[in-house]
Amino acid sequence: MAVLTYRDALTQALREELQRDDRVFLMGEEVAQYNGAYKVSKGLLDEFGPMRIVDTPITELGFAGVGVGAAMVGLRPIVEFMTWNFALLALDEVVNAAAKMLYMSGGQFKMPMVFRGPNGAALQLSAQHSQAWESWLAHIPGLKVCTPGTPADAKGLLKSAIRDDNPVVFLEGEMLYNTKGEVPDGDHIVPLGVAEVKRQGDHCSVITHGKMVLVAMRVADDLAKEGINIDVVDLRTVRPIDVEAISRSVQKTNRAVVLEEGWEICGMGSQVVDFIQRECFDDLDAPVLRVHQEDVPMPYAKNLERAAKPDAGKTIAAIKKVMYLD
């Protein structure tokens, strides 16, 4: 097993899938000559040429639609958004076209494509560049939504996403690209829709995904020193969502905190809590609590930004509350 950065794990996945299937191509702003705004596509232009690693103008709606059209007639596009904040301009193609094409054509036109790019906040990029979109996208039947939190999952999920015959939204994290982790050698595949328990514990479940997995792991380390063992459930894919994994964990711990990067109202956590109340009503020893971004646009000032984001401190406080320790 090699230790790779999240970025290099993604690059490996792209390279391997581009080698495996010549219908696969990568398209987006600065993906080719510039080697990717975040260097995820570094070296790919040299290896695969300009027909398969395609620089686009700044025209999100246009190139997302180009991806949809190419997928409709049998290619397997990977559309990179420089960030998901810019993808808002392209949502008509993602939501109205890609997600619905198979259904409204009565099963005639598949959409084997991936829309990928960094999601959520980095550091001090303020309101328009610091947003986590997974609850918007997971709302849509027809889309699949991946939120890898580790290099191994980044590689394995991206390979699955590229091979999937459905439109897959792939949410990366600017703050994750430099993080390191062990990645299994060879053709490492992580199936879509299967959560992973990243840390076993009996006292409280922390259900999370994406960038917040790292926060949950830090919390697990910190609380272990106090003798509190949390079960960290990494959803990995938020649509389809692994309800069984959530239930198994909560039935074991009888307490849950749901941690996410996005806002509270209609967030991913709302859905997870709904599954818990339906599947684990009799197992619960305390109300389920949620940790999320404060209900404000992201501010610029360092102190305000820190206060707005979900973090380890807020998560520990929530865990102690559901354990009636505070």
Partner: protein, 357 residues
């Protein structure tokens, strides 16, 4: 601003000035578009079928057999018939929500189109799409799209795939003149020209985006300047004259197949019915006089008169074509009416494809 509809001249009187990139009639285009008596009969048949089929759609809508939105194409049939007669079976067609006529002209089975409109299991889209979402993989008919302009970048993507595979097909993309003001149109035209994609963008200028006249929506009514803006060849053509449509398409398809260049074509036409089934045909945003003036240039009449005057078609033969069209429309109705609704378990199918590569 006055909401009174301005009295507009008939379609063929407008915009006669030279369009950018239109170098006149080139001999090869004329040759390619030349028709035989058989082709002329087929064109008439196609247009008559669309007309009779959609008259039955209006009837079925009134009876509640067709629901939702239903946008009729009546008055614009020379465009679909002319365009489809100039492309190959392996080419691609994509369009907006006024799609029944184009589907029929492309060769999608009238039965499956009517069954789709009736919301039946036997419909081309399994009863899941309806009027606005006619899809037919067999004829490379890529829909039927309901968001104005949204499918224009998709057409560029089909063109991209053709180029990627080094094919020599073309992708024909239809939309109304109101779509030229939306961002998707501009982004698609820029990419198609920048990347040399074999796409033929067809503006069916029927002069109204729903109830808004082009003069009230578009700062420069000469929509072809948008071709120039993207370094693309453009032409404006009388969309009521099927022969003019064919000649223009001959040039555009040659350009796409040989030069790998896109074309923007304005086809000037007029919609004889309302925007959909819910608005009055005239009286609110356009006058009865304007409608009647334009109906004098019914594309079917224009073609019929040309063939009839030359002595090629007798009155009896014309009636025969009409009777055939009516019979096909009736057969489609009977088939749709007798078809079952989709079984309830199909509610959940086709949300996701269950295969991977």
């Amino acid at each position: 601003m006055s909401t009174e509809a301005k009295k507009a001249p008939p379609a063929e009187k407008r915009n006669e000035k030279g369009a950018p990139g239109n170098n006149g009639e080139s001999a090869p285009a004329k040759d390619l578009a030349a028709t035989t008596p058989e082709i002329r009969r087929e064109l008439l048949h196609s247009m008559m079928l669309q007309r009779r089929f959609e008259e039955r759609c209006a009837e079925a809508y009134a009876l509640g057999k067709i629901g939702g939105f239903c946008h009729l194409y009546i008055g614009q049939e020379a465009i679909s018939a002319g365009v489809m007669s100039m492309i190959r079976p392996d080419d691609y067609v994509i369009t907006a929500y006024r799609d029944h006529g184009q589907a029929l002209a492309r060769g999608v089975s009238p039965r499956s189109v009517m069954a789709e409109l009736f919301g039946r299991d036997t419909g081309c889209s399994g009863g899941k799409g309806g009027s606005m979402h006619i899809f037919d993989a067999k004829t490379n008919f890529l829909g039927g799209h309901g968001i104005v302009g949204g499918h224009v970048p998709i057409a560029a993507g089909v063109g991209f795939a053709i180029k990627y595979r080094r094919g020599n097909q073309v992708c024909v993309c239809f939309f109304g003149e109101a779509a030229v003001n939306i961002g998707a149109f501009h982004e698609a035209l820029n990419l198609a020209s920048l990347w040399d994609l074999p796409v033929i963008f067809i503006i069916e200028n029927n002069r109204y985006g729903m109830g808004t006249a082009i003069s009230r929506s578009t700062a420069n009514e000469d929509v072809l300047v948008r071709a120039k803006g993207y370094r693309m060849e453009g032409e404006s053509v009388d969309g009521q004259d099927v022969f003019a449509v064919r000649e223009c398409m001959a040039r555009a398809t040659e350009r796409a197949r040989k030069e790998k260049r896109p074309t923007l074509i304005e086809m000037r036409t007029y919609r004889f019915m309302g925007h959909s089934m819910s608005d009055a045909v005239s009286g609110t945003y356009r006058t009865k006089d304007e409608l009647e003036e334009n109906m004098k240039r019914d594309p079917i009449l224009v073609l019929h008169n040309k063939i009839y005057e030359s002595g090629e078609l007798t009155e009896g033969e014309m009636h025969k074509i009409d009777d055939e069209a009516k019979a096909i429309a009736q057969d489609a109705w009977d088939f749709a009416d007798a078809s079952p609704e989709p079984p309830l378990e199909k509610l959940y199918t086709d949300v996701y494809a269950d295969t991977t590569s």
